[in-house]
C-alpha cells in the first residue's frame, strides 16, 4: 500500500500540471486542437488513478479547458470526488470546477447534497464560504429545498464573512425554492441592521433584487431603508438603497415627498459621481411619480437638470453618456426643462462616440417643435451622409421618421418638405429600413389628402428612376419604396400628369427582378392606370368616333398586352395569378375595341378599383368580433392523417391542372370562364354585400355614411388647402431642399428670399404670432391626419394590449409575490409548513441516517423554530406600525399642521385595514392615493377614510395591543 503511494507520488511528478498545460497550448499554436485532444486523453488517465492530488490536478486542467470552450461535463463525477476531499486546496479546485461546469440541470447534483451540507457546517469558515460560493453558481431547486435550512442557520453565524455570503445565498435559494421566502424573510430583515456593514450591504443587495421584481411587497421596509440612507456612509450600499427607493416611489408618492430633501442634501454633499448620479436618477423617479401638484418641485427639477448639464459637459465620456440617459427620463415628464439645453444635446450629436450620439438622438425626440423640426432633420440628414457604420445610419433613419411622425405628424407644418425628405431617404444605401420609409410614404399619402398631388408626382419620378433604387443589390430593402410608389401612383392616378409614362415605367422589363409582393402590386396598379388612361383619353361615349383617341387607347392596350406576359411568367404564384387575370382583361378590352364596342369600358375598369381606402388602426383587426357560431379553432376540413399527408396533395393536383403545365392551365381556365364582365359584376356584388355587412357591423370604422361626408369634405377642403399649402411651401422647403427637387424649388426661390427676410423681421417682434401663422392654415391638414386614428382608437382597447404584454413578464414575479403576502396574515402556519418541508427534505437526502441523528437535528431545530415564531409575531408589528408613523410623520410635514386629531384617526384606520387583509389594504391605499391627488385638504381625506373605516373597527383593539407589545419589545 505504502509502496503504491510512493509510486503514485513519483508518477505524479511527471504529470502535466496546469501551468504545463497552458504553456503547452501556447507552444502548440499550430496544432492546438491536436495537442488538447492529447491532453484530454492524459487527463482521463489521471482521473482513473486513486491519488486525489492527481485527480485534483486533472480537474484543474479541465477547468481551464472549459474556458477554452471544451465540454468537460463527462468528468462531473470526478469533480465531485475532488470536491469531497478533506483538503482545502483540493476542495477549492473541486468547487471551482463545479461552479464553472455544473448548472441546475446537472444530474449528479443529487449526489452532492450531503457533501455540501457537511461543508456548510464545517468548522473552517473558508470551507463553508467555499461551499456557499460554489453553490451560488449551481444551486438546483432540489438543493435549494434541502439546504435552505442550513443556509438559514448560517445567517446567524458568529462570523460576518459567513453571514454575508449566506445572505446573498438566500437570494439564490428564493429563486429556486420560492417557498423559502416567507419563513426566511424576517431573518433577512434582521440582517439589514446587522452590526457588520458588509452583511448589511449584502442584505440590502438581496432585498433590492427581490424588490426590483415586485416592489409593493417591500414598501413596509421603507422606514428601515430610510434610516440606513440617512446614517450610512457606505457608498455602495447607498447606491443600492437609492436605486431601491427609485423602484418604490411609483407605488407610494408619500415616500417620494419624504425622500426629496435627503436626496437633494446628498446631491449637494457627495463627491462620488456614482452616488450623485443615482441620487439624481431617483429624484427624477420621485418627480415623475408625483408630477402633479407640489409647485415647489420645480427647484428640484432645476437642480437635477443643472447637475446633469455638468455631467454632460464633463470631459469623461461615461458621465456624458449617463447624463444624457438621465436627461431622457426627465424629458418624459418635464420636456420644457430639458428643451432649454437643446444646444448641448445637438452638440452631443457630433460626439465621436456612437453610444453618446445614440443617447442624444433619443433626446431629440422630445426636443423638436414646429419651428425647429426642419433644422434638426436637416442636421440628422447631414449626419447620415457622414455616418460610417450602417447600424448607426439605420438608427438615424428610423429616428428621423420617428421624430417626424410622432403624434400624427404633430410637428410637421409642411408635408411637401416631409415627402421630399422621405424621397431623399430612399437614396440611402444598405439600410434595412426600406419598409419603414415605404410605410411613411403610404401613410402620408393616405392621411394627408392635400399632399397627394405632390406625392404622386414624386412617386412617378421614383418609378421612372427605379433603377437608382434597385441598382445595387445591397440596397435590397429600399426597393420596398417602389411598393409604395406603385401603389400611390395607381391609387391616386387622377393626380398623374402623364399616366402613360408612369404606366410604361411600371411595365419595364427590369421590374421582373423585384421581389414578388412588389411585382404583384405593380400588376394591380398597372390595371388601375390602364383604366385611368382608358377613361381619360377622350370621353368614353365619343371614343368610337374619335379616331385619334381610339388609336391612343389601342396603342396603350397593345403595350400592356405585350408587357404583361413577363409578369405571367413570374416565379411568384401571386404575381402569376394577378398578371394572367389582368392580361385577360386587357385582351378583352382589345377585342371590344376592334369590335367598336368599347364605350364605357374604361369607367367599368376603373370601377373595379373603386372606393376610398382609409387608415386602419393597428389593433382594428383584433377588435373584429368573431361571428356567432364560428369556431376559429375548428378544422374546416378534417386534417388528413399524417402518414398520407404527403401523397394526397399530389393526387389532387393533377385534377386541378389537368392539361399541360401550370401556366397554360391558368390561362386556359381563365379563358374558359368568361373573364372580364363576370368578375366585374361579381366584384361589385361582393363589394355591395361587404359594404352592407360593414355598415351593420359596429366594429368597422363607419365606412358608408362618414365616407360620403368625408369625400365631400375633401372636395371642399382640397382647393383651399392646396392654396394655403403653397405659401408655406415657399417659406420653408429651402431649408431641407433636396437635390432632386431643385427644379421645383428654383421656381420658388426668389419668393423664398423675400419670405425669409420677412420671417427674420417678424421673429424679432412677435415670435409667437409667427408660429400661430404657421400653424393656423395647416390645421386643416393636421385634423385630416388626426381623424382616422381617433376613430380607430375609439373602438380600441389600449389597456388590453398592455396587460397582454405584462402578463408573461410578471408571471415569474408572482411566485415570489404570493408567499410574502400570505406571511403577513398567517405567519405561524407558514413557518410550520416550512419546517415540515425542510424535515421531509432532510429525510430524502439522508436516507441512511439513523433516527438518532434526526432527533438531534430536530431538537437543534426547535430553538430556531421558536426563534422564527417569535420573529413572525413581532415582525408583523414593527414593520407595520413604524411604517404608519413613517408615512404620517410625513403627512404632517407636507400638509396641515392642525390635524393632530385627524391624524390619529388616520392612524387607527390604517392599521386595521392592513391587518384584515392585504387586498383591502391595497385597495384602500389606491383609493387614498387617488383622493390625495384630487383633494389636498387633509380633513376631507380623513372623512373619506372614516367612511371606509367602520368595517374594521373590531380589529382595532388587537392592533392597539400589538402596538403595546411592540413598545415592550422595543424597550
Amino acid at each position: 500500500m505504502a509502496l503504491r503511494k510512493v509510486k503514485g507520488n513519483l508518477e505524479r511528478m511527471f504529470d502535466k500540471n496546469l501551468t504545463d498545460l497552458v504553456r503547452g497550448i501556447r507552444n502548440n499554436k499550430d496544432n492546438e486542437t491536436k495537442f488538447i485532444a492529447q491532453c484530454i486523453e492524459e487527463i482521463k488517465l489521471e482521473l482513473r488513478q486513486e491519488n486525489i492530488s492527481v485527480k485534483a490536478n486533472a480537474v484543474a486542467k479541465l477547468t481551464y479547458l472549459q474556458m477554452m470552450g471544451y465540454d468537460v461535463s463527462w468528468a462531473c463525477f470526478n469533480v465531485i470526488e475532488v470536491m469531497s476531499s478533506t483538503k482545502f486546496t483540493y476542495k477549492r479546485i473541486g468547487y471551482l470546477a463545479a461552479s464553472q461546469t455544473f448548472h441546475p440541470d446537472t444530474e449528479v447534483l443529487m449526489l452532492t447534497t450531503n457533501m455540501v451540507r457537511k461543508d456548510l457546517n464545517s468548522q473552517s469558515q473558508y470551507e463553508a464560504g467555499l461551499a456557499l460560493s460554489g453553490l451560488s453558481c449551481f444551486i438546483s431547486p432540489d438543493l435549494a429545498r434541502d439546504l435552505a435550512n442550513d443556509i438559514m442557520t448560517l445567517l446567524s453565524s458568529t462570523r460576518p464573512y459567513l453571514r454575508k455570503k449566506a445572505v446573498l445565498m438566500m437570494y439564490k435559494v428564493f429563486l429556486r425554492f420560492p417557498e423559502a421566502l416567507r419563513p426566511a424573510f424576517p431573518r433577512l430583515k434582521e440582517k439589514l441592521e446587522d452590526p457588520d456593514s458588509g452583511v448589511q450591504s449584502a442584505a440590502v443587495n438581496v432585498v433590492c433584487e427581490l424588490a426590483r421584481k415586485n416592489p409593493k411587497n417591500y414598501l413596509s421596509l421603507a422606514p428601515v431603508f430610510f434610516k440606513l440612507m440617512t446614517t450610512s456612509t457606505n457608498n455602495w450600499m447607498l447606491i443600492k438603497i437609492i436605486k431601491l427607493f427609485g423602484a418604490l416611489t411609483p407605488l407610494e408618492p408619500r415616500l417620494g415627498k419624504k425622500l426629496i430633501e435627503p436626496l437633494t442634501n446628498l446631491i449637494h454633499s457627495t463627491s462620488a459621481m456614482s452616488l450623485l448620479y443615482e441620487c439624481i436618477n431617483t429624484v427624477i423617479a420621485v418627480l415623475i411619480s408625483i408630477s402633479s401638484g407640489m409647485p415647489n418641485h420645480s427647484t428640484s427639477i432645476q437642480l437635477c437638470v443643472q447637475k446633469l448639464r455638468i455631467l454632460i459637459e464633463d470631459s469623461d465620456q461615461n458621465l456624458k453618456y449617463l447624463g444624457l440617459l438621465a436627461m431622457s427620463k426627465i424629458l418624459k415628464t418635464h420636456p420644457k426643462s430639458v428643451q432649454s439645453h437643446k444646444d448641448l444635446i445637438l452638440q452631443c450629436l457630433d460626439d465621436k462616440d456612437e453610444s453618446i450620439r445614440l443617447r442624444a438622438l433619443d433626446l431629440l425626440y422630445g426636443m423638436v417643435s414646429k419651428k425647429n423640426l426642419m433644422e434638426i432633420v436637416k442636421k440628422l440628414m447631414i449626419h447620415m451622409d457622414k455616418a460610417e457604420g450602417t447600424s448607426y445610419r439605420d438608427e438615424l433613419l428610423s429616428k428621423i421618421i420617428e421624430i417626424c411622425s410622432q403624434n400624427n405628424y404633430q410637428h410637421i407644418t409642411n408635408f411637401e418638405w416631409y415627402v421630399s425628405v422621405l424621397v431623399e431617404l430612399t437614396r440611402m444605401e444598405g439600410t434595412k429600413h426600406g419598409p419603414l420609409v415605404a410605410n411613411q410614404l403610404l401613410d402620408v399619402a393616405i392621411r394627408v389628402a392635400a399632399i397627394r398631388a405632390f406625392v404622386v408626382a414624386q412617386m412617378a419620378l421614383l418609378l421612372d428612376n427605379s433603377h437608382f433604387i434597385t441598382g445595387f443589390s445591397q440596397r435590397a430593402s429600399m426597393c420596398e419604396v417602389l411598393f409604395a410608389a406603385a401603389w400611390i401612383c395607381g391609387e391616386f392616378s387622377e393626380f398623374l400628369t402623364d399616366p402613360k409614362a408612369t404606366l410604361e415605367a411600371l411595365l419595364r422589363a427590369r421590374v421582373s427582378t423585384l421581389p414578388g409582393h412588389i411585382q404583384a402590386v405593380y400588376v394591380q396598379n398597372i390595371m388601375k392606370l390602364y383604366g385611368r388612361i382608358l377613361t381619360s383619353s377622350g370621353s368614353d361615349a365619343s371614343m368610337d368616333e374619335d379616331m385619334v383617341a381610339k388609336a391612343a387607347v389601342e396603342e396603350v392596350s397593345e403595350m400592356v398586352a405585350a408587357r404583361l406576359p413577363s409578369f405571367v411568367e413570374s416565379s411568384e404564384l401571386e404575381v402569376q395569378e394577378r398578371a394572367s387575370c389582368a392580361l385577360q382583361l386587357v385582351k378583352f378590352v382589345q377585342k371590344q375595341l376592334t369590335k367598336g364596342q368599347a364605350a364605357g369600358l374604361g369607367a367599368e375598369i376603373v370601377s373595379l378599383f373603386d372606393g376610398e381606402l382609409n387608415p386602419v388602426a393597428p389593433k382594428a383587426q383584433k377588435k373584429v368580433q368573431v361571428p356567432e357560431g364560428l369556431d376559429l379553432d375548428e378544422w374546416i376540413n378534417e386534417p388528413p392523417p399524417s402518414e398520407s399527408s404527403d401523397s394526397e396533395p399530389e393526387v389532387q393536383r393533377p385534377s386541378l391542372f389537368a392539361t399541360g403545365n401550370a401556366e397554360n392551365a391558368y390561362v386556359e381556365s381563365y379563358q374558359s370562364s368568361k373573364p372580364a364582365e363576370l368578375t366585374q359584376e361579381e366584384v361589385q356584388r361582393n363589394r355591395e354585400a361587404r359594404q352592407q355587412e360593414q355598415a351593420c357591423n359596429p366594429n368597422y370604422l363607419k365606412g358608408g355614411g362618414k365616407l360620403e361626408s368625408k369625400s365631400g369634405m375633401f372636395d371642399v377642403a382640397e382647393v383651399p388647402v392646396a392654396q394655403l399649402d403653397l405659401p408655406v411651401a415657399l417659406k420653408i422647403p429651402g431649408l431641407a431642399s433636396s437635390d432632386h427637387y431643385l427644379q421645383k424649388q428654383k421656381q420658388t426661390s426668389s419668393k423664398k428670399k423675400v419670405s425669409t427676410k420677412k420671417k427674420k423681421k417678424s421673429k424679432k417682434h412677435k415670435e409667437s404670432s409667427d408660429e400661430e401663422e404657421l400653424a393656423a392654415p395647416l390645421h386643416v391638414v393636421n385634423t385630416d391626419v388626426g381623424e382616422m386614428p381617433e376613430g380607430a382608437t375609439l373602438s380600441d382597447g389600449m389597456d388590453d394590449d398592455n396587460n397582454d404584454l405584462n402578463d408573461p413578464h410578471r408571471a415569474l414575479d408572482v411566485n415570489l409575490d404570493e408567499p410574502l403576502r400570505a406571511e403577513e396574515t398567517l405567519p405561524v402556519r407558514s413557518h410550520r409548513e416550512a419546517v415540515k418541508f425542510e424535515v421531509t427534505g432532510e429525510k430524502k437526502a439522508k436516507k441512511k441516517s439513523s433516527k438518532k441523528e434526526e432527533k438531534v437535528k430536530k431538537s437543534k431545530k426547535q430553538p430556531i423554530m421558536m426563534d422564527l415564531l417569535q420573529n413572525g409575531e413581532h415582525t408583523n408589528a414593527p414593520t407595520e406600525e413604524p411604517s404608519n408613523d413613517f408615512w404620517l410623520d410625513h403627512a404632517e410635514y407636507e400638509a396641515m399642521p392642525d390635524t393632530s386629531q385627524s391624524k390619529l384617526q388616520v392612524e387607527e384606520n390604517e392599521k386595521p385595514k392592513k391587518k384584515s387583509s392585504s387586498k383591502t389594504k391595497e385597495k384602500s391605499k389606491e383609493k387614498k392615493k387617488k383622493k390625495e391627488k384630487k383633494v389636498i385638504n387633509e380633513d376631507s381625506l380623513v372623512s373619506s377614510l372614516a367612511v371606509e373605516a367602520p368595517t374594521f373597527v373590531p380589529d382595532l383593539k388587537q392592533t392597539m395591543s400589538n402596538k403595546d407589545k411592540n413598545v415592550l419589545i422595543v424597550s
Binding site: 507520488n9 496546469l18 504545463d20 497552458v22 460560493s133 433584487e209 436605486k243 456614482s274 465620456q317 462616440d353
Partner: protein, 191 residues
C-alpha cells in the same frame, strides 16, 4: 445582478470567463466572441458602456467594460446595478489582482486563472457583489492562501521541486544566455 464577467485580451482570447447564468460551452464561446467584437472596435476615449449584445440578456442588459493595456474586463449587468459602481468594482478587481500578483500582467492571468477565480469569488458571489473593500478582500485571500500552504507542508515538496525545475524552463534559458558578440570582439582587437 451581474450576469457574466469576461476577461479577454486584445485578440479576443479568453483569459477568464465567469457566467452567473447557465450557457453551454459553445454559447459561452459565442458570447465571448460577440462581446469581443463589440468592445474591440471602440476607441479608448469613448464611454465604457455598451447596450445590446444580442446573445446575452436583452434590452435590460448593459456591457460595462474597462480596457487595461492588453486586457479587456467586461461585466454584463442588468439595470439594478449602478453603471459607475460597476466601473469602480472593475477597478477594485484589477487593483486587487495587482496586489496579489505584484504588478499584474496578462501572463499572470494566463498561468494562474484559478487564482484569479478565487480572487473574483471574494468580490462577487452568484452575480451579486459580495465585498468592495479591498483590504477586507485581501485579508480573506491571504488567509485562504495560508490554509493552502499549511496543507501543502512536506508532502507537496517533491511536486513543488519538480514544478520549480519545470519553471526554470531550461531550454529557454539556454537560448537566453548571451554570448559576447564575437565579430564585435574581433573588431575590438587591434593589432
Amino acid at each position: 445582478m451581474i450576469k457574466a464577467i469576461l476577461v479577454f485580451n486584445n485578440h479576443g482570447k479568453p483569459r477568464l470567463s465567469k457566467f452567473y447564468q447557465y450557457f453551454n460551452e459553445d454559447m459561452q464561446q459565442q458570447i465571448i466572441k460577440e462581446t469581443f467584437q463589440l468592445v474591440s472596435k471602440r476607441d479608448d476615449n469613448v464611454c465604457n458602456f455598451l447596450e445590446g449584445g444580442s446573445l446575452i440578456g436583452g434590452s435590460d442588459y448593459k456591457l460595462i467594460y474597462r480596457h487595461y493595456a492588453t486586457l479587456y474586463f467586461v461585466f454584463c449587468v442588468d439595470s439594478s446595478e449602478s453603471e459607475l459602481g460597476i466601473l469602480d468594482l472593475i477597478q477594485v478587481f484589477v487593483e486587487t489582482l495587482d496586489k496579489c500578483f505584484e504588478n499584474v500582467c496578462e501572463l499572470d492571468l494566463i498561468f494562474h486563472v484559478d487564482k484569479v477565480h478565487y480572487i473574483l469569488n471574494e468580490l462577487v458571489m452568484g452575480g451579486m457583489v459580495l465585498e468592495t473593500n479591498m483590504s477586507e478582500i485581501l485579508t480573506r485571500i491571504e488567509e485562504q492562501n495560508k490554509l493552502e500552504k499549511l496543507e501543502a507542508g512536506i508532502t507537496a515538496a517533491p511536486a513543488r521541486a519538480v514544478s520549480a525545475v519545470k519553471n526554470m524552463n531550461l531550454s529557454q534559458q539556454i537560448k537566453d544566455i548571451k554570448l559576447p558578440d564575437l565579430p564585435q570582439a574581433i573588431k575590438d582587437l587591434k593589432f
